[in-house]
């Protein structure tokens, strides 16, 4: 077995370790493939589909697809950019995202992704679903209006905290993140110091720590000056 395998992304040759995903190999090569449900500390699950690339003619989620020798990957193409934009729009209209009132604004990966794609308003009609807000936990609150069902909290709790605080429940458009407690988050064993409650795990403003709102002022937040993905592109 050769040390490294080689493949191309938009014609650029990229090297990958055996077993490495296309996304990880691209990151290492300084090529940014947009993603929302993927997180460097968590097992990828391919649910947001934003990282979809065309592999030898077939669409595949880069976060779960292993790199293979000689593979031809199309990433930054007009077709993929349009479809990714469509997906971002879908996430906006399926929830209730009011960036101007949201504590996560400026640190929100969904918002940052929309800016990166030049989205000012979604092309699809907002669905305005009825969603709950769960403030039962003493230190952490959940605003389901902002949830994009990436399950990063589910995985962080299982993989990093050794707990099982969250899990997907229901199906279809009614699918949501359930909590492992009789009624609400306050009935679970979630601790405010758990990784699952860390603001870098939830990409949006769904899981928020109480009493730390606006600690970093608007204007000094993560995506206020540079688009999401810049850190990877800079290498």
């Amino acid at each position: 077995m050769a040390d490294k395998l080689k493949f191309t992304i938009d014609g650029v040759e990229v090297q990958a370790e055996h077993g490495q995903t296309i996304l990880d190999a691209a990151d290492a090569a300084g090529i940014y493939i947009p993603r929302l449900c993927a997180h460097p500390d968590l097992k990828p699950i391919g649910s947001c589909r934003i990282c979809t690339v065309v592999v030898n003619g077939r669409p595949q989620a880069a976060c779960v697809q292993p790199a293979a020798e000689g593979m031809v990957v199309e990433n930054d193409t007009p077709e993929m950019l349009e479809h990714r934009r469509n997906l971002i729009d879908m996430m906006f209209v399926e929830g209730n995202h009011f960036c101007m009132f949201c504590e996560k604004s400026g640190n929100c990966e969904l918002q940052a992704m929309a800016y990166r794609f030049g989205i000012t308003a979604p092309q699809y009609p907002s669905q305005f679903p009825d969603k709950d807000v769960d403030a039962s936990h003493p230190d952490v609150m959940m605003d389901y209006n902002r949830c994009i069902l990436c399950t990063r909290c589910v995985r962080a709790s299982q993989e990093l905290d050794g707990k099982n605080v969250f899990q997907s429940i229901g199906r279809g458009f009614g699918r949501k993140i359930g909590v492992n407690g009789r009624q609400a988050l306050g009935d679970t064993d979630l601790n405010v110091d758990d990784r699952a409650a860390d603001p870098t795990i939830c990409p949006v403003g769904c899981i928020i720590k109480k009493r730390v709102g606006f600690e970093v002022p608007i204007g000094e937040r993560k995506f206020d000056h540079e688009p999401i993905g810049s850190e990877i592109e800079k290498g």
Partner: protein, 603 residues
């Protein structure tokens, strides 16, 4: 506590094994009429899992409920075929008779009314399930008698006064379902030599068996058409001690009912095929994933399995072959179309919600319990048995070059003779229409909602993998039908059945459905056709599994083949305003709050 003891007992019966969660919660539902959330903690503790995992499973499947329902749940099939046969009138009769609406339970807790997706009875629609009992050919006139009989005796089996043909009348089935076999072919429904395939197979080496199946050209009958022999070879060659044979008996594609007939009339052929596969692959365990709608066949199938065990056709040293050990269990589903997708089916067999998995790894490498697993359709196993008996050449000599053998088609809708037709691949739509008595057909849906709708200029095309593939569903529509209503029904189905795991399928299907509804309500504009096409293509291209990759097909195939049904109802948008936006409706809340009507926008 009596109830707690019962739950503990049920958990224990399934080895306190969380991978048997489907069976555990199904049994609890049977016992209590629902799965009470107040016992989630207890179930989780007994099965060594978390309460949210229990909730996750219960909330996924439509036949499971966390709310108390009636002792008898009447689930009326909401398929378009049933609607065409008068399901709405039947529904109204049930509502009148019980004094409740669909989705409700009577105050005395005796009855619940629910709509349900295709129950596999499209050839005898309108049809319903009363608990596990199938009611076919319903009419509004029959409804009062049905309710009276059930009020007298709360056992839906009293409604079966006359059984259907063949094994439908078997002591262990006793159903009014008819087979409606209209044409028998030489592979599946003709005469055959019981166990000849298996006996010939074990005379060979496993590699030779796989070679035969490969040479026969047998492709998977569920719809995707992957070469069965190749799948078996991958599974055989995959590293691992334990290997599994799974049979997909979750035919949920609306309009498909061919596996129902195979399971009723050819159960041995199915189990024999699984046993052949086990021999070829080196598997010791088989699972038949039986859809909840076919629960009425379960006792019969269990009995066939027992008979096979007694005859040495299952168990240890099968047919006297030393070390050939294999047995089969039946895993009941609980109402989820997505579980017909092989990776979802595996998740469901493992006692989880039926979310599909990422591939790679493919099930042949890491499937059930992360072990190499071959998942095939009911019909595929039947074909494999026949290949073993009659030879690869015989099989590949039937049908077309790329589609060997016969195909079991289930035909329904506007035709004189709905039912089961076993025909060689390559049969043209025109030939089929003649056989079923529908030469005046205006449209045919081939392959169910996930397939395509074709118009009369395409009726010379052939049913085959290379031209018009189908898992078996064929729906016929005459020129009186409103095809946009059909499309909407199909999109409703997908929006109801998608698992919600990935964004494009979860959101895309709802957006497609909503825009379609607007168009049907006369609020469509010319640009909407473009909107539907772009959104449909995005959903197909970006979705994670076969469901979302095909769910926009009803819209995309009618935009292509029946464009006038759209152009006739949409109008040019001359005002530049969004026609779908109803300003008066949008003002309603504001009017309510302010207690007055808007000065600018009022009725």
């Amino acid at each position: 506590m009596l109830k707690e003891a019962k739950i503990k007992k049920i958990c224990k019966r399934f080895g306190n094994d969380r991978t048997r969660m489907m069976d555990i919660v199904r049994e609890i539902q049977q016992e209590f009429g629902y799965v009470p959330p107040k016992y989630y903690d207890l179930i989780a503790r007994e099965a060594n899992t978390h309460r949210v995992e229990v909730q996750s499973v219960v909330s996924f499947y439509t036949f499971l409920s966390d709310r108390k329902k009636g002792k008898i749940i009447i689930r009326l099939c909401e398929d378009i075929i049933d609607k065409m046969a008068g399901a709405d009138e039947v529904a109204a009769a049930f509502e009148r008779e019980l004094g409740i609406a669909f989705g409700e339970t009577t105050d005395d807790g005796k009855f619940s009314l629910e709509w349900t997706a295709c129950i596999g009875m499209s050839d005898q629609a309108p049809a319903a399930l009363a608990n596990d009992t199938v009611l076919t050919n319903l009419t509004p006139e029959k409804v009062p008698e049905i309710i009276q009989a059930l009020k007298k005796k709360a056992d839906p089996q009293v409604l079966v006064t006359e059984c259907g043909d063949g094994n439908n009348a078997d002591q262990l089935i006793q159903t009014m379902v008819q087979n409606n076999i209209c044409e028998r072919g030489e592979v599946l429904l003709g005469d055959y030599d019981l166990e000849a395939g298996l006996r010939k197979a074990i005379e060979k080496t496993p590699e030779e068996v796989i070679e035969d199946v490969k040479n026969s050209g047998l492709r998977g009958r569920g719809g995707a058409g992957f070469l069965v022999g190749l799948k078996w070879e991958f599974t055989r060659n995959a590293p691992g001690e334990d290997k599994y044979i799974l049979c997909n008996a979750d035919e949920g594609e609306p309009g498909t009912f061919k596996d129902r007939v195979l399971l009723t009339e050819r159960p041995d052929l199915v189990f024999e095929g699984m046993t052949v596969a086990a021999f070829a692959i080196g598997a010791q365990t088989g699972i038949v994933y039986l859809r909840a709608e076919y629960a009425y066949l379960r006792a019969f199938l269990e009995d066939v399995l027992n008979r096979r065990r007694a005859a040495g056709l299952l168990g240890n040293n099968i047919c006297g072959k030393d070390g050939f050990n294999f047995d089969i269990r039946i895993q009941m589903g609980a109402g989820a179309y997505i579980c017909g997708e092989e990776s979802s089916l595996i998740s469901s067999c493992e006692g989880m919600r039926g979310d599909p998995s990422d591939r790679p790894p493919f099930p042949a490498i890491a499937g059930y319990r992360v072990a190499p697993t071959a998942v095939n359709n009911v019909e595929s196993y039947c074909c494999a048995t026949r290949v073993m008996d009659k030879g690869a050449d015989w099989f590949s000599g039937i049908g077309t070059e790329k589609s060997a053998g016969t195909k079991l088609l289930s035909v329904c809708g506007d035709c004189e003779r709905p039912g089961i037709y076993e025909l060689p691949f390559g049969v043209t739509v025109n030939e089929l229409l003649k056989k079923v008595g529908a030469e005046d057909a205006a449209a045919m849906q081939v392959g169910g909602p996930s397939g395509q709708m074709i118009n009369p200029s395409q009726f010379d095309r052939a049913i085959s993998f290379e031209d018009l593939p189908t898992g078996g569903s064929i729906m016929v529509f005459n020129k009186q039908r409103d095809l946009l209503e059909v499309v909407e029904a199909f999109m409703e189905f997908f929006a109801e059945e998608d698992c919600g795991y990935c964004v494009p399928c979860r959101v895309g299907n709802v957006l497609l459905l909503n825009r379609l509804k607007q168009i049907r309500n006369g609020k469509g504009v010319t640009e909407d056709m473009d909107y539907l096409e772009k959104l449909g293509k995005a959903t197909k291209r970006m979705s994670r599994c076969g469901l979302g990759q095909t769910s926009p097909n009803p819209i995309l195939s009618t935009l292509e083949n029946f464009r006038p049904i759209y152009t006739e109802v949409v109008r040019d948008n001359t005002s530049g305003l969004q026609k779908s936006f109803d300003v008066l409706e949008a003002m309603e809340q504001a009017n309510e709050v302010t207690g007055r009507q808007s000065v600018l926008f009022h009725a």
